[in-house]
Symmetry: C2
Subunit: 407 residues, 2 copies
Amino acid sequence: MGLYVQKFGGTSVANVKRIRNVAARVARTFDQGNDVVVVLSAMAGVTDGLIELANSASAAPDRREMDVLLATGEQTTVALLAMMLRDMNYPATSLLGFQAEILTNDQACNARIISIGADRIRALLEKRHIVVVAGFQGCDQNGNITTLGRGGSDTSAVAIAAAIQADSCEIYTDVDGIYTTDPNICDRARKIKRISYDEMLELSSLGAKVLQIRSVEFAKKYNVPVHVRSSFSEEEGTMVVQEDMDMERLVVSGVTCNKNEARITLKRVPDQPGVAAKIFTPIADANIQVDMIIQNFRSGGETDVTFTVPRANFNQALEISKKTADAIGAAEVTTAEHIAKVSVVGVGMKNHSGVAARMFGALAAENINIRLISTSEIRISCVVEEKYAELAVRVLHSAFNLDQESA
Amino acid sequence: MGLYVQKFGGTSVANVKRIRNVAARVARTFDQGNDVVVVLSAMAGVTDGLIELANSASAAPDRREMDVLLATGEQTTVALLAMMLRDMNYPATSLLGFQAEILTNDQACNARIISIGADRIRALLEKRHIVVVAGFQGCDQNGNITTLGRGGSDTSAVAIAAAIQADSCEIYTDVDGIYTTDPNICDRARKIKRISYDEMLELSSLGAKVLQIRSVEFAKKYNVPVHVRSSFSEEEGTMVVQEDMDMERLVVSGVTCNKNEARITLKRVPDQPGVAAKIFTPIADANIQVDMIIQNFRSGGETDVTFTVPRANFNQALEISKKTADAIGAAEVTTAEHIAKVSVVGVGMKNHSGVAARMFGALAAENINIRLISTSEIRISCVVEEKYAELAVRVLHSAFNLDQESA
């Protein structure tokens, strides 16, 4: 007998037939004697449709009102699922964000959860109800409806699981788990059975399609076991859990690839205090997210500063950088748009030396030139030419023994 | 400087373009220095679409969950209107039923308003906001979403007008007011400028298309002046107000016609105490609304009992009546499906004798046979054969001088 939060995404509730499948699965879990809280997204496409509707009504839709509009999406699916369960003679009750007391800050369209007053959920569970909560939405302290931003239903589910101390938060989606790398790139990619929160965060480029990163941070903070699995099969998926000793036996858990960045280099920058701030402050002011930053020392009091930005912001960042280069007396600005960032991730690398060397060696053996390197405690990333990206992923997947079932 | 509630129905907010017209009209009222609370219905067709969706999901949709689903309709329109007004630089804020503290009983799908805690509306008005309230919805004391039944937005509007003591509650609709009779039947029908609550209630068969009857009862109870007018023109419509001395000068205000009933007669019923209860209790138990009831005395301790029911329930009522007739020893059950009830309505008839005589005379002059008669203080109704309905309406419209502009 357990207490489970089961979250179903937009594709899992895309139409009445699929919602019926969800009802059947929820009922099965309930029949096994478990308590169940279901968290639903809007039907696939509905949120985009509502945004389109808002844009047809207003040149710059007011964010508070946008949230009122968007909240109808999940409101529809929870009502439908609760009806179906009632029809099947299960005691089911839907709760909207405000009814489930999901208190957020007042940042419309991108609110953060402050607390969940789970009293009503708990009271319903005690009466052996199936509680069907609208994901993605909450309300601020003035009773305004808020939404949590893209993929916010994952965060709703994990936060509710934390509040009611669920045994696990199951995220049902259209893939059956987290893979060692993208199966579209490497056919030897394998499903990962257990992965730590930190690894999941670093594997964002794999996981973002599956699990909203903010929900992983939440799960880590409150130590909520998250089970990512398919809504179309009974198979076990991937457990995202606290790091344990066992995990460290595996040096690398996954290989990721990100082609959404571009490189900008300011060459021969006078090496003076405050120069980095002069380069990055105007970029930050333009709301451009800088990912990697690398500084190479040259002789003669000069340095090269290289960084990567999302490709969507590349032109804007380049323009800003050229102005900065003029202002601070840098010699020139060079760029590379067709790059890829390939990363290996694993909590095990903390206790294993030579991971970087093995990575560089494997890439060198295929004549793949490394343009930039950056590292975190559990990740090493190399920027390579875009055309080598897939090859690099496959080479690293093999080099770290991820091809083998027993790895 | 006034305080107005402006309610717009489904056809007035049927699409983005029409909502834009609503925004313009609201803005105009606001610009004149008035405070405005707007109450909206769902886009025309949306509520029916949601009911269809629920029926595709469930054989017998749970009523609590149906309300959660239906409430999305008005939620959508209030968000869109508030966005548009914000876009036009008006301070607008949408409120859902629970946010406007529209407290109802817990009768899902057909809830009654208990109270309106207008604090939040008043606070927003004090800040010179345009308050856009979702009609048709409220919440019960446990925080469950409820809806008020068909046409409930009218009741929302009148109730809010009563709570904030608005100068008038304007009901914008697709007709430009209440007419002396149905213009489709009688081309001499004229728009009524002022009409009393009681007359409006009796004119239900005219008014139901325009104004929900429950909202008129509410308006009467709290003495809210209601202005029924067109959302597609600037013309004044019909004011529904408390009866005044002036109104009594007019004997009859309107003529109505209702073809939605059928007649059932139990002949030669033993005239014993309790026999009426035996006839009507099983019909009430089947949730069938009986309209007219007439009992004719016969000689020999027998009586004929005649009543009318909605045609939709005719077959069911007939079946029940046949069983009752057997049980109580009535001689036979006769029926008439093709009947029409023609009524004249007016507060003036309280102080004028001879209204009934004038009505019967006018019908007799055209050889229209009267089958049943019933009266209230301000209404006389005659049941005639359906084929004479339109003729009867025109005859009575002339007989009571309603054809003339000055009447």
